[in-house]
Amino acid sequence: MRHVYLDHLSATPLLPEAFEAMKPYFLEAYGNPSSLHQHGLRVREALTQARVQIAELVRAESPDEIFFTSGGTESVNLAVKGVAYANKRRGNHIVWSEVEHPAVMNSVEFLEKEGFTHSKVPVDSVGRVQVERLREAITDQTTLICVQLANHDIGTLQPVAEVGAIAAERGIPLFVDANSAAGWVPIDVQHLGASLLSLSPHRFYGPKGVGVLYRNRRARLVSILHGGVQEGGRRAGTENVPAIVGAGVAAQAAARDLESRVTHVRGLQERLWSGLKAAIPFLKLNGPEPGPQRICNNLNLSTEFIEGEGQLLLLDMHGIAVASGSSCVSKSLKISHVLAAIGLDHALAQGNLIMTLGRDNTAEEMDYVVDEFSRIVEKLRGMSPMWDEFQRGIIDSVVAPTGRGRSFSEYAAEVSGKAAH
């Protein structure tokens, strides 16, 4: 059986050259960078180098603007809470978009309990932040604006530079969550107008266990993990040296190979989407069409009349690894809030599937996926009472409505006696 990994947003394999660079820091150069002896000083140099490598990837002015954390989530928490707490005396209002990752969303909701206020900016039907609405949401209490670079679910590239210009005009720090974008989109913090920007190295062939926060020197930031004075006093705790070294190497490779990776992956994205579209009726692409508004490595699909987990499991049994934003797949038993934010019909949200591509995928793999997935959809539709009702004209398609009957969502609400969302 072929193995096709299409879940690069969840995890990427570590780059062999990154692993090679990490190896000595496990058994041999095991020192703590806070130590003043050989063992400590040696690994300090390694951290310095990694900081330079990361700074180059995002075009930071200085490596001192790079902070290492334990991962994308911690970087987001540090940015959101660290800026909010640091500016508590100036104001208590946060502006953020409704498609932000749960790391942002739940950090903001935590702060709300602590007395902060916030405004959630809506997105359009492809998930793009409505910039004018964002501008209107800013108050004189606003101390932070949060907009992601690319959406983690539907791949929408956000108009961050536009937001950055507004932020600069109002003198408010802008935090850009680039956890799902870095490595796949060229990043220039200056150009974006980002005061803070988070990266997740394990999304671009770096190791797990390390995250990055870029912070412009002018942006005030307090620490959220308290303890020692590592990372310039902004992140306590013994540094995860091997992972930081790996992150640096992965960043260097990402900067070097960005163009070729993007070109390759964008080609696959187009091939896969046009293949699927042709082979499978009643399939919807969520988010923008492949092109300048969409990240190069993501396809977010909704297969009508069938549910996402079944599709995912059968694909897995055929060697194809994907993700899904359906409620059955999520631990919270709710559909992805991003799908809700773009107003996706419940039926389509339940049939959700996320395919994220990487540098090792091939054109043949895309064709294989189209083939296998067509068969799987057919099989699951054969089991679906909805498909049957659709064939018999009782319910109607949402993707390509015929006007013959109720939508699945209406139908489901009737069956269960509860509204579908």
């Binding site: 193995h3 079944g310 409620s327 038993l333 709710k334 339940q350 089991m383 679906s384 909805m386 049957d388």
Partner: protein
Amino acid sequence: MSDTYTLYNKTVMDHFMNPRNMGDLPNADGIGEVGAAACGDIMKMSLKVENGRITDARFKTFGCGSAIASSSMATELIKGRTIEEALHFSNQEVVDALGGLPPVKIHCSVLAEEALKAALEDYVKRNPESASQVPPSAASANGR
């Protein structure tokens, strides 16, 4: 990777991959359809009843792997039972026969129980004479 790792145990995976009794029964004697809007599962169950005994059962399911497996297992378990026995059917039987389900997926087995009971109710409605066999509480508790 040499082994295959699965989200569900072997039995569940088997019933998901190779569901038993999938489809509709032509001329079913009772049909039930239930759903859980929150998780987006819909299950439809059709029964054939002869002499107060379920002789055949079919399902169609819109839902996750464990929903499909639960419906498959429920139809297997219910065949051959009397209406009264069937009215005492509990989701736990499905869970046990499947060798367990993850905690968040127990509701799938509940849905299978509900689909079965909705189909039985439909049967009783169509065959009022059979109602005498059914303790009144059982029939109404599961009606919708």
